[in-house]
Symmetry: D2
Subunit: 346 residues, 4 copies
Amino acid sequence: MIISMRLHSTKEEIEQVCERIRDFGYKIHAIEGEERVVIGAVGTGDTTACLESVEAMPQVEKAVRISAPYKFVSREYRSERTRVRVDGCEIGGDEFVVMAGPCSVESEKQIMQAAEGVARAGAKLLRGGAFKPRTSPYDFQGMEEEGLKLLAKAKRATGLAIITEVMSDRDVDLVADYADVLQIGARNMQNFALLKTLGKCSRPVLLKRGMSSTIKELLMSAEYVVAHGNPNVILCERGIRTFETVTRNTCDIVAVAVLNELTHLPVILDPSHATGKRSLVPALGRAAVAIGADGLIVEVHPAPEKAMSDGAQSLDMPQFQAMMRSLGPYIDLWKESRVTEAAAAV
Amino acid sequence: MIISMRLHSTKEEIEQVCERIRDFGYKIHAIEGEERVVIGAVGTGDTTACLESVEAMPQVEKAVRISAPYKFVSREYRSERTRVRVDGCEIGGDEFVVMAGPCSVESEKQIMQAAEGVARAGAKLLRGGAFKPRTSPYDFQGMEEEGLKLLAKAKRATGLAIITEVMSDRDVDLVADYADVLQIGARNMQNFALLKTLGKCSRPVLLKRGMSSTIKELLMSAEYVVAHGNPNVILCERGIRTFETVTRNTCDIVAVAVLNELTHLPVILDPSHATGKRSLVPALGRAAVAIGADGLIVEVHPAPEKAMSDGAQSLDMPQFQAMMRSLGPYIDLWKESRVTEAAAAV
Amino acid sequence: MIISMRLHSTKEEIEQVCERIRDFGYKIHAIEGEERVVIGAVGTGDTTACLESVEAMPQVEKAVRISAPYKFVSREYRSERTRVRVDGCEIGGDEFVVMAGPCSVESEKQIMQAAEGVARAGAKLLRGGAFKPRTSPYDFQGMEEEGLKLLAKAKRATGLAIITEVMSDRDVDLVADYADVLQIGARNMQNFALLKTLGKCSRPVLLKRGMSSTIKELLMSAEYVVAHGNPNVILCERGIRTFETVTRNTCDIVAVAVLNELTHLPVILDPSHATGKRSLVPALGRAAVAIGADGLIVEVHPAPEKAMSDGAQSLDMPQFQAMMRSLGPYIDLWKESRVTEAAAAV
Amino acid sequence: MIISMRLHSTKEEIEQVCERIRDFGYKIHAIEGEERVVIGAVGTGDTTACLESVEAMPQVEKAVRISAPYKFVSREYRSERTRVRVDGCEIGGDEFVVMAGPCSVESEKQIMQAAEGVARAGAKLLRGGAFKPRTSPYDFQGMEEEGLKLLAKAKRATGLAIITEVMSDRDVDLVADYADVLQIGARNMQNFALLKTLGKCSRPVLLKRGMSSTIKELLMSAEYVVAHGNPNVILCERGIRTFETVTRNTCDIVAVAVLNELTHLPVILDPSHATGKRSLVPALGRAAVAIGADGLIVEVHPAPEKAMSDGAQSLDMPQFQAMMRSLGPYIDLWKESRVTEAAAAV
């Protein structure tokens, strides 16, 4: 922790600040510059509390944290990749995993068609929302438990594992009864009551980045889940909100590479929400493989123009099959690089 | 609803789109331009569903909503201002209302000192968090029910009404037992499970704008609460997230004026979170009065440098008193303009 | 300057970094933390060059500047406000100065009507573009020198000083022949060739904040002009680009208060570009007075619906007169606070 | 063009708006909805002028453009890709083109080493700045003409074509004497005086996207150059400014795919400025190939830690060679897809 004093601070003011820092259990190193004094604080106290306290002192110009505020999710804590085991596959391991399916579960026919189609094309998990976060109270809010039952049925028919969203800590147990992976949507990335409850859940969690959340905040939210007991967290980049409106969001694809440096958790990408436009999904999917994501989550609907939500960004079955085929040679290169990486680590 | 077809669409493609729109109960007006066909859809069907459906059709370039997607909260639905009655005062009425207090309830002594101080300076509500949304799982998470009890005690001692945050639909009943106004934090503005529960609650709700939420999304979230049964919603601008980092957030002060045009709900401003810096709070408070906000919510702590959260943006008691004095002549002008407005409406 | 080393850096690596820093003329203070080493560098060398050099070293985690990168424009360099004298008035002094007029000079009749109208209502400067930065090459690009001549004519008729935009270093001399203040538009805030030329010009400069420029970058651009010889710079907040689209830009009104802390240069606000919508201009104008701006620049047109640019955000004459009247009592409070400030400084 | 009237507009008000639109040469189609009237305007008049004029009318709610505001750069104007010929190669054709070199030309030794290194690794153009846009007036501003001469020397020695930045319309002729491609930096994307001058220049232009410019604004700036006579424009995505600060900018990689749909001009990506961090450059480079960019521009320096600018994002020679090798198999896939595309177009 580095504290920079205001210009012309008196010795007394500097000593007051040092006193406060020592109260938090830190050792002090003061550096007298030409213009101002800078204080280095070294130790293992409660950094946030100390930072906020000294920042509130009028003689302090600014206080900067040096160490990362997360621990369990960092590469420094664990250098090898976390492999999250889901019924039938492993995310973060040797396979590039595709999750696919409709935005919402709408009917038995729709979800069964979707499941069969995406399984045939090579997806390993079926996505589909039963509880839907909708901006308007007048929009379709999901089939709720009825939808979960249909997902379970689709699983029995196809062998696909199920990933679906949970929106309230109240629903975690219910959704965990049906789903293999619990998805936390972008709007709930900082729903801390929900994150704590997920920490006590035995299912893996897919945590989507909030649309105005920084990469560090995403890691802090993952840290909530892990610190509360659940190490199986998968991160997901799905686009952030910027001034650009041609696409639904702006895909921060470099976040995948940054996260690969900072954390051992697997990272996947959602090209459907990141673009909002069907025609852009396959190209972004290829880029995600090339940059080293661990998988994709893609919206696919048997009849997008009849979808109750997100139709414009959903692929139909032939489009999804074509996309999977076009990803093939890129996934081959991806596997080679994982082998090289593993060899280098030995 | 206006649908613009791609260039060179065939008659057949256009007819398919028209067919789809009619299925949703709309009437069709097609306009043949020099380059492309534009379709106007008129009616009272489910606009979102229809929009998403036609947008998903490959021959459609884009589809634009013309009517506002909210109803109950709009000025068109109700032209006169909503006055939200809280124990002892009215927000949205003839008085400019200041809410003040610490970020977190930390101890009996702290909250009693804070309450007495802000009451003496002219605040009408006491703010203080018992459930705290913190980015890090290792930061102070609030005193929970114990904190609520201390707030109730401060209310008995000072007569101030209480506003405090609720973070989960599970806690709404508990918090409503103690608080006069339930605060929804920026991170929960689109926690739809929570919004629905608040719709069934009898307490007024203060809804803070999400840090990357548009003004329209804020209104849609308010619409959730109102449509589910609770008309007493107060909106709050507290700064949005932008590229600028000198301040904690960027205060979109014009949002206050925009909301005054679009909705009848009261709008207040939070100059503490909007700036993150104590020295900027009073100046922004004056600007908020001048632009026509209905009130302020301000962080005040008896000893900011000892605060467990948000110390750098908290005023101490003398600073808050000075701010309240400096607001005085601006509030006088504010009252005059409300009288003029009321006279004009007759 | 503070340099934080990567975890587990060796003594040798640390010494290499220290060596590099010393090469730039700094003294070194190393702090050994529990986890990593932090190096403080003290001195008066070329900070940017040194920062960039050490940041490029693989063993360095990050390097942070402590001192501000600007000098002449800082409050620390000069504590009293700079008063920019323009023909007939002073910006940054005891008067709140309003500049007003059309977006573009379109004809003699239009600019004369505008000039007479805004003069009568109390404006001190006439604005009007002769060189227009337009997003599209097919839009009206301005009357160029012909427009400058009409501005000069309007000045002779009304006594108003003239402010108009210059877009290229090639045109600085020409525009300076006619204008009292040279305006640099948001898109040219970092046109460094232009800034350098303005440094050698004898006219005051109004520097508008770029739509994605930070407050510090605005100050750095002002520093360019001042360091190249021209101390008469007026800063202007005109809204930044964010995700919100209801308004044309998002007015960062707090920037005015921040700039008042960081610099001695005068700061005005442009409520027309900040909102893009006529109905919001007067309310934002009041807020700008309340937060302590030194003036306003407002788009006014005798017939906004016939304007060749920016009609939707232009006030007509009766609207501008009404706005000026409504600002009156706020300006009275503004003057009182300037008197108080001056008394306190003695 | 679609104009939506305010609620409860009178017949007279609607007729006034229609009259105005007809004055601009459009035909009118009015649609009477349940709540409001919407007017479709069809024709080939000056859309911007008409839009701005009707938007300025008080009875108009909003006015929306349907047709794209650019013409020559659109795919609709020209469906096949533009191939920009530069000495020795073609951008937008059958080869993936890499441009590489240091941020600034610093000395003969440095630029010659850089040129030989990048040529050997497979680059086709040498980049290097002689005129440098620097945020601070105290930073290194470039070697100017001296630097251009060194670039010419490096070209003679290696056969690489030269790309270098021009910052003022005054310098266009000078820079064009030495460079094969003129680069327009992000800060000058809307320097319209410069764009017009480039339109009359015979050299190809590389136009970098402004850091807060939309994709449509980038196309409009390209339209300036093309409409003024120069069809050889290459677009470049180099990251936009968002709230995320872990990377220097946020790479909007999807912009490449969007531009491929909207324009026939070639599009390259700058992974160095997009990330600001050396370790992220190769991964982003691979993603750029996979998404279909036409090339890359990469910062490479013989000794990054001694660079006078941008050292932290510059690769050294072995790193650049490794990157080029790792791109190989992705470029092979890229070529296959171009062949497939060409075959499909026949």
